[in-house]
Amino acid sequence: MTGAGGAAGSPGATVEFERVTKRYDRAAAGVPGAVNDLSFHVPAGRICVLVGPSGCGKTTSLKMVNRLIEPTAGRILLDGVDVTTKDVTELRRGIGYVIQQVGLFPHLTIGENVAVVLRLLGWSSERQRERAEALLQLVGLEPATYRDRFPSQLSGGERQRVGVARAIAADPPLMLMDEPFGAVDPIVRERLQNELLRLQEGLAKTILFVTHDIDEAIKMGDLVAVMRVGGRLAQFGTPEEILSAPADDFVARFVGVDRGLKRLSLRRVGDLELQQVVHVRPGTEAAEARGLAEADPFPYLLLVDEGDRPIGWIPDDRLPADGALDADMATPMSPLLDRRATLKDALSLLLDSDVQVGIVVDRRGTTLGIVTVEMIADLLRGGDPVVWPRGAPDAATPGTAEAAGS
């Protein structure tokens, strides 16, 4: 990813808001879009999400960075330099800009759209074309297919990908994204969010990202600035901090009564200390399997293939009296969870399935261990994840259960 199209170039810039205020003269306070004494600092290479109800001034704050709106008071520093001291067109050409409606140029082809800023910067048409193709590839659009199409021929999701490609074309150290995924359906939004996070791993841009959706803020942000109407900063911190310790009632209400659940979307299955179970392969002698089953408190054995990929469960009490184990003996599978799945997705999968045990696999499908609803519930209560079978009614031997607990 990093090398693709030479996309990894300039490192991110630091962004600093210093007591930034924007007043609209219609009234003293409470005008939608006004910003009041806003200060925060975004380190280089981080995604900072500005989130809040409509009219809280988050978009105004964003547009003051590239000076589509000028502040009434205060300063915004980019790598330590006040943006108002820079030439405005130079400043803007050095900042990627993505908006909700995308704003692709309808009269330019996709390739030309991506290369727009490069053209403004005076790149040769040869280099523009090469770069545009590399960028289309980077955002998952086959250049040969898309380069010569017009924006009206693309779906909403494809257009937004082009919007992102266009914004990173000149390799800006800072990107401003104003509700970039607000106009696409939830499935496409989720995919675009994941793609942006994946891209960011290689790009390490500084990104200011505006949304009104707290879930999106938590998912996308390394840092989250919660704003309230009147353009005041209600809380600034990591998603974990915002969810676990809301600064006041407003933040607590804004993040929602389900903030405990939301914390689950911050953790990944692979971050848990997974419970290990006994693996057996087809062909294992029943007697040997029984021995293994008796030594292990978990009431099932996991049948795996030669690559340690799960085939299914064999309940201890249904092990054959003699002979060898066979793939047909395995009962229906637990849900398979990728180690990168969030705990939120894992929980929802587990609750949807008959068994409340998920098998965690890595990218190649190799078994890493299991996760249970109880492990997740325990994490929610603030404790450390527990290991099966603490308190589980069907634990094989009480003694082992206790030993395995906490």
Binding site: V88, T89, E90, I99, Q101, G103, F105, H107, L120, F150
Partner: protein, 210 residues
Amino acid sequence: MNWEWIAGNLGQIVDATVDHIVLTGIAVGVGFALSLVFAMLIYRDRRWYSPISGLTGVLYTIPSLALFAMLVPITGLTLVTAEIGLVSYTLLILTRSIVSGLDGVPADVVEAADGMGFTPRGRLARVDFPLAVPLIVAGLRIATVTTIGLVMVTALIGEGGLGNLMLRGFNFRNYTAVYVGAIVTVALAVVADAVLIWLGRLATPWSRAR
């Protein structure tokens, strides 16, 4: 229909047609140039909108014969008189079509262009105008077809292209000349409209892409 007359006066018919085209071309060309200036004034500062649309609106409502009658004492029976009238009638339509074309550029496109660092002039030339082309072409089509009809009237002050041919036909009861004048004028209008449609499509391949 007197085919012999047509055969014998082909040169005159061709001359009248060329005159007609030239009168129309000058009128639409000058009218478009003036309208561009008006539209730019309005684009820069909205306060120009009322006075300019008032002026062009008044010019448009003056009956053509009355306008020529007013102009003859000043500029005489000349091409200038004819063109002043013809140009006046194009201004309302052309100014409005350019302004609404520029106004019609989607807000998100404007915001993206500004945010990416287009200079105001660069945006006008490379974003706003190209996107205004369909509406501008629509205005040009109406202005051109209207002017082709109006050129006829200028026969009364000694110009008129094919109108002149028709006028003389009436005077000498040569109805073949009247028919020829009418038919060729209609043909001119149809062809001019088709050419403009074609040029418009050539300039906006994106507008048909689906």
